[in-house]
């Protein structure tokens, strides 16, 4: 249906899922319709503050409709809610990007 962003530690499909949203090193964008993935580096992951807001702005700019991460801070949450972006929280940090994508395809 839409573009899905997954926070992850690297730019390969075997990379581990990252439970942080603003400080994740990479974002994997998965397109439901074409089935393609693109990886986007998070330049702000080492900033001292407001990484969540910057990441949210980036996601809004990319027209993502769903974000899969481990946790969202209060500022990021407010912003994403305003732009009708669905937030999904996964507790399991041992998953790889490919495994999450497989789950999305299967449904």
């Amino acid at each position: 249906v839409s573009k899905v962003a997954i926070t992850c530690a690297g730019n390969k499909s075997s990379s581990l899922f990252d439970r942080r949203f603003g400080r994740a090193a990479w974002y994997c964008l998965f397109d439901d319709i074409s089935g393609t993935t693109t990886y986007i580096k998070n330049e702000n992951c080492d900033d001292l503050q407001q990484t969540g807001i910057k990441a949210s702005e980036k996601m809004i700019g990319l027209e993502v409709e769903k974000i899969i991460s481990g946790d969202f801070g209060p500022f990021a949450m407010d912003l994403l809610k305003k732009f009708n972006i669905q937030m999904v929280i996964l507790q399991d940090s041992q998953l790889t990007v490919q495994e999450i994508i497989n789950k999305l395809i299967k449904k």
């Binding site: 946790d71 809610k81 009708n84 972006i85 669905q86 937030m87 999904v88 507790q91 999305l104 449904k107």
Partner: protein, 135 residues
């Protein structure tokens, strides 16, 4: 000046305004103020049976801070029971986790934005979805 307190995340507010003892001669109205975060700490440890580490992660605070809040909660409830005082709940230092849902099939938590009509779980598309908010 002390550092600003970090807001504690509370998934659902308590479903009551307070508790009052009955069958007692003690009519004085000094109440015990139970904060939302203390209620949440008590719920996570003694009802959901999480350990302090997991519970502190759910509330977005450090484990020692969680332990202090939890200890306060227990002491306040014990004080209310022993001194037959009324308990009232107070908002405290929290931010509420609104419009969150949990899938009972895969334990994923997620929001459903206004623009969306689909109510199934985004990961496993199960319909065994439960709201995490009361009222």
């Amino acid at each position: 000046m002390p550092r600003k307190k970090r807001l504690r995340k509370v998934v659902a507010p308590p479903g009551f305004k307070g508790y009052r003892p009955y069958g007692t001669n003690n009519n004085q109205r000094n109440t015990v103020e139970l904060l939302y975060e203390e209620y949440e700490a008590l719920k996570l440890t003694d009802y959901d049976l999480m350990n302090h580490k997991e519970a502190s992660e759910v509330m977005g605070i450090s484990r020692p801070t969680f332990a202090r809040i939890y200890e306060n909660a227990r002491r306040k409830i014990a004080m209310a029971l022993v001194e037959t005082r009324e308990i009232i709940t107070i908002y405290g230092n929290v931010w509420m986790d609104k419009n969150w849902f949990m899938c009972n099939n895969c334990q994923t938590r997620f929001t459903i934005p206004k623009s969306m009509t689909d109510n199934s779980c985004p990961i496993c598309s199960s319909i065994k979805v439960e709201s995490l908010n009361f009222n």
